[in-house]
């Protein structure tokens, strides 16, 4: 009997087809889960319309780069809300990976002949693509709430969103490898999302935090989410914040390396423990 072999498999075209297939599946899931899109949009809008409006008079913001004048509190927190969208999306993607692993769909992905790093990276990029769609939908609505960055800012924001999205996604990927069940993963919301978001410059500038608590200020400075927010803030005003970008890039590299290690079939955590329903 001849051993069948296809021509496309593992060729550059095969890689492209595989990558497109993974992105397509994520897009299909996203479209089919309209509630997910709606909640991704409503969450930052609630912060923008209600929280920011309510605290506008309490939390005044001085002139800090990249702003050249005093800005409304709504304007200040918009980059933080953009980063929040990506943070939630990154965690949502990893939540779906835990779910996929639990129901078995993840196994179908991982038994593809393509290298595991490529499959996970493709899944990560698919998640980033979805988060960018959410961000621009949010910015469109925000525009009518007088959040009007320069037009060029929308363009310069794009590559930064790719980088920050990769950081949040790879962090989510790493977290997904640590949890075997969805129930356990729910605690991530309390122990990761909220501390990361609140201990950052998303809602208040760091100089204000420093006045209140020097220790908290240092924690905020160490938080990679702070630097993602600042990279987004500068990019949205067509400015370049090299330090923040470098820190975000380094954090991405660390999270990505650790998550690829965790999913490695011979070295990672899953290899040592076995995935759910695999112990027969």
């Amino acid at each position: 009997m001849s051993v069948r072999k296809r021509t496309n498999a593992l060729s550059p075209r095969g890689y492209a087809i595989c990558f497109a297939g993974i992105v397509w599946r994520e897009a299909l899931r996203f479209i089919s889960q309209r509630g997910r899109f709606l909640s991704a949009l409503v969450r930052p809008l609630v912060w923008l319309f209600i929280f920011a409006a309510g605290l506008r008079s309490v939390l005044g913001v001085s002139i800090i780069p990249p702003y050249e004048t005093y800005v409304l509190y709504e304007v200040y927190i918009t980059p933080g809300l953009v980063a929040m969208i990506q943070l939630f999306n990154g965690l949502q993607s990893s939540l779906s990976m835990v779910y996929d692993r639990e129901v078995g769909a993840m196994r179908i992905l991982l038994v593809s002949p393509y290298p595991r790093w490529f499959l996970l990276l493709a899944k990560l990029i698919a998640g980033v693509f979805v988060s960018i769609l959410q961000v621009y939908a949010f910015l469109l609505v925000a525009y009518f709430w007088e959040i009007e960055p320069p037009l060029m800012g929308y363009l310069t924001l794009l590559p930064v969103l790719v980088l920050t999205g990769l950081m949040m996604g790879s962090m989510g990927l790493l977290l997904s490898s640590l949890f075997r069940q969805l129930e356990n993963f729910a605690s991530v919301m309390n122990f990761v999302i909220f501390p990361m978001f609140f201990a950052s410059s998303a809602l208040y500038p760091l100089w204000r935090v420093q006045e209140a608590s020097p220790i908290l200020y240092e924690i905020c400075r160490l938080n990679p989410f702070t630097h993602a927010v600042e990279a987004i803030r500068f990019a949205l005003y067509a400015r370049f914040d090299g330090a923040s970008l470098a820190i975000v890039a380094a954090a991405t590299a660390i999270f990505l390396t650790l998550s690829l290690f965790a999913y490695n079939p011979s070295k990672g955590l899953i290899a040592r423990r076995g995935a759910p329903a695999m112990a027969d």
Binding site: R6, I22, W24, V103, S112, Y114, S266, I270, G274, D280
Partner: protein, 254 residues
């Protein structure tokens, strides 16, 4: 000599202190139906997970048509299809979308995939469900879809891990018939894990796995002769009893 579809040598694997597989060696000849018989917890699913490289083994080798699963994973994995015991379908996708996605995971473009989809759905009597959501299929149809999906990249070896679990008698018989037809008509090698004795025929190859160890293997008559038993059920029980006696003797010696 024809290359075996699957050759496993001295394969061991542990989850922490628990040994799931202990020096397992077995062969699945190309174009054969090989039944992997074992009780729940025998190590069948672990074996499948190692063959598909969901994780790597502690020791031993696995070759698919001569390609080492660890060193030549892409070559090996592109030649095998897998149906896991637990359902692995995305219920929100349509039948067509599921198959297109799986084809893409094997580097098959849309045009080529459409032809394969028509072929496998026709073979498993699902052609009229092409645009239906997976969640609207019956249990038997979902299983048939999983097998159709496993065949989308035309693998020469198909691994099925207790595929009839949860199916009614009619669906079970239909599924076994269709898989046996794959061996006869398409020349696929099949490794069929089961704990149900009535799924094994006299013409099959049989591998008996118990608590991570191979107790017997060969054609059904060879296994019966080895166990000195008139039928598979008696042979299976005798092999397990012999294993228990050996294990008890070893424990007493220690």
């Amino acid at each position: 000599m024809t290359q075996p579809a699957l050759r496993i040598e001295a394969l061991s694997h542990s989850f922490g202190p628990r040994k799931a597989l202990d020096r397992v060696s077995l062969t699945v000849p190309a174009g054969s139906f090989t039944a992997l018989l074992g009780l729940n917890g025998a190590g069948k699913t672990t074996l499948f997970s190692l063959v598909t490289r969901l994780y790597d083994s502690t020791s031993g080798t696995i070759e698919v048509f001569g390609f080492d699963v660890r060193r030549e994973a892409p070559e090996a994995l592109s030649r095998l299809g897998i149906v896991f015991q637990a359902r692995t379908l995305d219920l929100d996708l349509s039948v067509r979308q599921s198959l297109l996605y799986h084809a893409a995971l094997h580097g098959i473009g849309r045009r080529q995939a459409q032809a394969r989809i028509a072929h496998v759905l026709d073979k498993f009597d699902l052609a009229d469900r092409l645009h239906d959501r997976v969640r609207n299929l019956s249990g038997g149809q979902m299983r048939r879809l999983e097998i159709a999906r496993a065949l989308i990249h035309d693998p020469a070896l198909l691994l099925l891990d207790e595929p009839t679990v949860g199916l009614d008698v009619e669906a079970r018989q239909g599924l076994i018939r269709e898989v046996r037809r794959l061996v006869a008509e398409e020349g696929n090698g099949i490794l069929w894990a089961t704990h149900l004795l009535d799924e094994i025929q006299a013409t099959d190859r049989l591998v008996v796995l118990h608590r991570g160890r191979i107790l017997a293997q060969g054609t059904v008559p060879e296994v019966l002769a080895q166990a000195e038993a008139p039928d598979i059920q008696t042979a299976f029980l005798k092999l397990i009893d012999a294993f228990k006696e050996t294990a008890t003797g070893q424990e007493a010696a220690e």
